[in-house]
Symmetry: C2
Subunit: 448 residues, 2 copies
Amino acid sequence: MATMPDRFWNEAIETLSPGEVRRLENERLTEQVAYDVATSPFYRAKLDRAGVTADEIRHVEDLARIPFMEKGEVADSQADGTLLGINQCAPLDTIVRIQATGGTTGQPMRIGLTRRDIADYGEVGARALWAMGCRPGDIVFECMNYNLYAGGLSDHLTFETLGAATIPFGVGHSERLLRMMAGLRDPVGIWATPSYAVRLAEVAAQLGIEPRSVGLRRGYFSGEAGLQVPGYRERIQDTWGMVARDQYGTGELGLHSGECEEQNGVHFGGVGIAIAELIDPDSGEVLPFTDGRQGEVVYTSIRRQACPLLRMRSHDLMQVFTEPCPCGRTSFRFRILGRSDDMFIVKGVNVFPLSVQAVLMRLAPRVTGEFRVVIDRPPPIDYPVPLTVEVARDVPTAQHEALAREVATRLQAELNFTAAVTLVGPGTIATEVKTRRVVRTYRGEVVQ
Amino acid sequence: MATMPDRFWNEAIETLSPGEVRRLENERLTEQVAYDVATSPFYRAKLDRAGVTADEIRHVEDLARIPFMEKGEVADSQADGTLLGINQCAPLDTIVRIQATGGTTGQPMRIGLTRRDIADYGEVGARALWAMGCRPGDIVFECMNYNLYAGGLSDHLTFETLGAATIPFGVGHSERLLRMMAGLRDPVGIWATPSYAVRLAEVAAQLGIEPRSVGLRRGYFSGEAGLQVPGYRERIQDTWGMVARDQYGTGELGLHSGECEEQNGVHFGGVGIAIAELIDPDSGEVLPFTDGRQGEVVYTSIRRQACPLLRMRSHDLMQVFTEPCPCGRTSFRFRILGRSDDMFIVKGVNVFPLSVQAVLMRLAPRVTGEFRVVIDRPPPIDYPVPLTVEVARDVPTAQHEALAREVATRLQAELNFTAAVTLVGPGTIATEVKTRRVVRTYRGEVVQ
């Protein structure tokens, strides 16, 4: 197909045929595994134990011979005071940035980046943002947390790599943000979690500011998969008069995948930087990468110097789509189904927060769609699931009891579990940082 | 003199002779003024009004023909919603970063940076940090505010430019910082305000952590001139067992000057990027740049694309030193005397906060050296100056009254003004962000 000149950030990579992608992946995988084993006793031992040599890993399919690694292994190896732990493969004096990831489950893991790792981070981020419609000359407020986590500084620099005029705004000053955006003549964009767009509208309402008057016209959303829930995106778009686009990445890999104007899933943007395998989360078996397939994604770095990953389990469940996209990008697309750690099992039924959200959105505008499940006992969950749900401001208190019953009835009918529903006011649950939908207080997680 | 290979970040620039510096400045000034006038109606009108053409500005001395500009002019020009206002000289689609400066006095001013501006920012920062002893392989926690202000993101990237392993830590999590530093085997450094080092020791004391056990061995300090007060640096060094070095820069210029191991002033690091003139703050007359001279520094960009400055008044008063430094750097050195806006006048006597601090440090360890002046009425100050002073934890309450009297007596004797002294507990004044010493509540400033 004819490509438009401004369609891609990196046309050469983004329009590679599947065969060319695989050749590039095989070539870089071979180099990376040799590097990993040459520089890291951990990786050397890992391959040794599996009875495989670096030489034998020459194709993506060969990866199946190597055992998985878990983020926790790396985090644990840092607990003794080692800065980066077992997967550090580059000397400290070539590492210029240290960030952390995974504070939401267990110990944060420190990650190092060399200059080339940083450039790659910016490159894949720019591919994703370009797909999402961001362009040089756009003004973008970055409203993620700059402290320690990659979502701040490193993601900021993906916007700079693309060439947008990027403002490091950070979190925690919603009123100031609203006034600054409204005070600018030019339309602006925002980089935030989708639930922050909901929260910001709530703050605007409290200040008597009409969201559409603020000039916020584009939303680049990440950190939560909410935009893929029917109704959620539309509500954010309607509230602000904006175009809202979805994005996906992980702190440890720093890869970024963005949704194009076709809105039929998020395009994998990490071609040539990382390999994504799909596995059965229970058996660990590698699943074929066919259209519509669901599974857990596992990452392997193929161009990483400081802290390469080798079959790192993400515990993110996704459905992939391999049919060509009209936008011209050839990489696979996907939608996130949820995190396997966020999934909870009620009497044998798997429940994903995104499914709960989808049910709630069908009750909007009486509920906002924001909710939280707090589990205070170890499994099994053989009791009504404690579910807190935000009710809309204009629902009279007299109707709350009936609404709570209706929520429970719908969840029972559509998702097959019993919930103990508590209604709370709008603006109670969605926060400025990533909103956790399932909090397991019995293992020390806290409701923020 | 023989230069050591690891002595400089950029030996070619840092060891230029004064004549070579002047030639470089003249050449770049000529280019910059032509660019400013070609791209900005504001600068064109400015020169027109002065009856001078861009062609006539070919030497640093020619600058005297151009009127000064004030930060407020730029900030005011942004009040109508223009993103960058009158001194924007590059098109928006070449500008990739927007930050703000000057929130402490009046309206914040937005500043834009192109990719080359960012590279220059990193270059001069790396010169300063290298002079301060920072090296690749060092681990540095950056504890400045990443939200909006250049002191966060842009300064972080100066450490990355140099090659240190830089952690974007931000402000507001002192306990976590202490535990993370203490949990690392390697010694670490910190980039912070000097008063934050004081505050952090206070938090450590509350947690029962011995500061010297934390492994914090190098401090790169900026944002306040406190390190030049006799006793203040020594106290910080002793508390932590660290080497503390002083640094100076401004948000709008993004230049950074650092103190070398000789500790005889801060080396100007902006050679080839900006020209520093010295003026009489009252008459505006240009002062000769001779050893020991005191005056207000005025900045002119000579390699800036997005928002160049042309004789921008800093209102920072400095004393310059032009005698050669044994470290081999040839740029002038300086020490900051204070900000002209921070200076207050009591019955005709000019008082600088740094002088107050110097007096207090002579009463240490009974006082911590932290203090604040709150002025709640417009001038003149014909009444005792309200001065809040931190007393050390181990001074018995029974001795407070006598100590307060002693502080007042010393200030009267050494600085010739009368103070109404209130003592407060340690940890009350020094904050995680830049600590303001003089707060004028009558004009809307707030005590943080």
